[in-house]
């Protein structure tokens, strides 16, 4: 339409490209629609990190320092070497299995630094004079077989009271050997040296042991159960973050440097959701001219001057506002991960692990909107963020720092990273799919069976 009207031209020229600065709060309102804010402030984040750091350092603060690593054994005069002494933790248990045989309980070993004197091996000497060195289970170690065989009679004599019917046979008598080993010190010569010597002579050296230190513990091939507390921050990239608290009970099996872990956990996650709240208020919507009187014009009969008053018209007018509300969601988590121990000393372990975690939504805590506009009638509350899905999968990875308190207990602190593999929200047009990630700390205690 070719518009020739001057009124139109006047306004078109003036209004084309006319700019006005919007209120500063307008962007915040729009931003909150797409990026719901978190009530988890950075100050809270910093506080949490500090508390967790302190919690993680507590074992080092509360437990007296064990300086055995720094405290080098004083080597006596002679051909003494530094090594490690292996001893069984508990006396061996030999029980009849009901079929006429005997069963020996599973054993655990302690390892402690020591000093030993290297001597020539004398296979034909009495068993009590031998120092048996092994880096494996002594009963299975071919390196000690010559000694066991050479002393089989003595072993059988020793074993006799415990295993009355054990026959003395050629070769390794495993059960009897174990019984024998339980009552004698079993030493571990430093690994590299041991191998080297075996290559040269294939013969063990006789040593005398000088136990030096108090207990320290390293274990292998075992089940353990753990209890963990797991605070995390969930990042809805590019959204701000929300917090999640959780805990789990785990069971793991470790064989050499590898371990597998599973368990069950519970987590409670915050989620700040945005709602569009429609309401009505009684507003002025226009006006009308009320005639309140008139004056006839005496000079012009028939002409009347009306006296008028402008009056406002009120009506209910719809409005809406965008409100934020914190909802809480509870999940049952089932983790599964595999780990590899990079470092294992008598006190400290460092393990990397990775795996997956399945989460099942078990509870939604979505309180009502707190609508506080006076003289307004609430019409409708429409959730802008899609509903949460009932199940999720996520990838997990972490680096576990372990501190071994005793042969049974160890403390663990593990920074963890988890990435959701599937979106957390149901599909909704106009809303970007969210696959958040989270970082947190897993702190807990583990019991070794």
């Amino acid at each position: 339409m070719n518009n020739m009207n001057k009124i139109d031209d006047l306004f078109r020229e003036a209004m084309t490209g006319y700019k006005m600065t919007p209120a500063p709060g307008l962007w915040l309102r729009i931003e909150r629609h797409f990026f719901p804010p978190s009530k988890y402030r950075p100050s809270g984040l910093i506080t949490s990190v500090l508390l967790l750091s302190i919690a993680g350092l507590m074992p080092w603060i509360l437990i007296p320092a064990n300086d055995q690593d720094e405290k080098k054994p004083v080597l006596p005069e002679g051909n003494f070497k530094r090594g490690y002494l292996i001893e069984t933790i508990t006396p061996v248990e030999i029980k009849p299995d009901g079929n006429g045989d005997y069963r020996i309980s599973a054993r655990s070993f302690t390892v402690r630094p020591t000093v030993y004197e290297e001597k020539e091996a004398i296979p034909e000497a009495g068993a009590s004079e031998q120092f048996i060195a092994s880096i494996n289970d002594p009963a299975d170690d071919p390196a000690i077989r010559p000694i066991l065989i050479a002393n089989r009679q003595h072993i059988a004599d020793l074993a006799e009271p415990a295993i009355p019917n054990t026959a003395v046979k050629e070769g390794l008598l495993k059960d009897a050997s174990i019984a024998f080993l339980e009552s004698h010190p079993v030493g571990l010569i430093q690994y590299s040296r041991y191998i080297e010597e075996m290559k040269i002579s294939a013969e063990l050296r006789k040593t005398s042991l000088t136990p030096y230190h108090e207990k320290s513990y390293v274990r292998k091939g075992e089940f353990s159960a753990g209890l963990n507390f797991n605070p995390s921050i969930v990042f809805y990239d590019p959204n701000p973050y929300n917090k999640m608290l959780g805990g789990d009970a785990t069971i793991s099996y470790k064989m050499f440097s590898f371990s597998i872990m599973t368990g069950i956990g519970y987590s409670r996650m915050e989620d700040v959701s945005t709602y569009k709240v429609d309401y009505m208020t009684n507003d002025s919507v226009g006006y009308f001219i009320r005639v309140i009187g008139f004056i006839p014009d005496p000079r012009n009969p028939g002409e009347i001057t009306y006296i008028t008053r402008q009056e406002a018209i009120y009506d209910s007018v719809p409005h809406y506002t965008i409100e934020d509300k914190t909802n809480y969601y509870s999940y049952i988590d089932i983790p599964f991960s595999v780990g590899y121990t990079l470092l294992q000393t008598h006190r400290i372990s460092l393990t990397i692990d990775a795996g997956i975690k399945f989460s099942l939504l078990v509870d939604r805590d979505e309180p009502d909107i707190d609508f506080r506009i006076s003289d307004a009638e609430l019409i409708n509350v429409e959730r802008q963020v899609p509903a949460r899905l009932n199940t999720n999968w996520r990838f997990t990875a972490g680096v576990d720092f372990g501190y071994i308190l005793s042969d049974r207990f160890s403390l663990h602190l593990e920074p963890v990273f988890e990435q959701y593999i599937s979106p957390v929200y149901a599909k909704q047009p106009g809303y970007l799919p969210r696959k958040p990630y989270l970082t947190g700390v897993k702190a807990g205690i583990r019991y070794n069976f």
Partner: protein, 196 residues
């Protein structure tokens, strides 16, 4: 992040900075558009909020055929129409007979020259106030016809009214605006005389 392409690409990826940049770039112009369609600043900001939420939600649909500003402006106008239609009960009271007569007058009015003085200088802010003071229906039609250059047929389709009603509303809007302009002219004339 400066060009429209970068902003659009960032918005499609859901980047907050891109959203913010797009808003900062186009908000002043769009605020001017929304103000024209609303009777006050509060309503204009409501419309603009709706409009930008739609812009961000539908940015993936922008194909780059026209300018980004034009695309956003169309969304703002649609948001204003949505808002207006939500309050439709206050707007038009159609009288078929009156509409027909007025429409004929409006057709003539489209092509007539007004007697506005050529040296007329009215601040843009004042002109904006004049538009905002119009009744809702007048304002909608006047904006769409006079400023956006929509035809009566298009306006009728957009607002769900007849073409005659659109023409009538335009005529009344122009008259109302003319009265306001004349009042300003008269006022300035009186002032000039009194200063002399």
């Amino acid at each position: 992040m400066n060009s429209d392409e970068q902003i659009i690409s960032g918005c499609r990826e859901g980047k907050r900075k891109a959203f913010s940049k797009l808003f900062d770039t186009y908000a002043p112009v769009m605020m001017g558009v929304c103000m024209r369609y609303c009777k006050n600043r509060i309503d204009a900001e409501d419309v603009m909020q709706d409009g930008f939420i739609k812009v961000f939600g539908q940015i993936h649909k922008f194909r780059g055929d026209g300018s980004l500003e034009g695309w956003i402006k169309r969304i703002m106008i649609n948001a204003a129409i949505d808002s207006y239609q939500a309050n439709l009960k206050h707007a038009f009271h159609e009288d078929v007979t009156e509409n027909k007569l007025s429409a004929q007058i409006a057709d003539m009015d489209d092509h007539c020259d007004d007697d506005l003085p050529p040296e007329l200088q009215i601040p843009h802010k004042k002109l904006m106030e004049m538009i905002q003071e119009l009744p809702d229906g007048y304002r909608m039609v006047f904006n769409l016809f006079a400023i956006e250059n929509y035809s009566h047929k298009e306006i009728a389709a957009l607002l769900g009214i007849s073409e005659n009603t659109s023409k009538t509303q335009l005529l009344k809007a122009r008259k109302a605006l003319r009265r306001k302009i004349e009042a300003i002219i008269e006022h300035s004339h009186i002032n000039r005389i009194s200063t002399v």
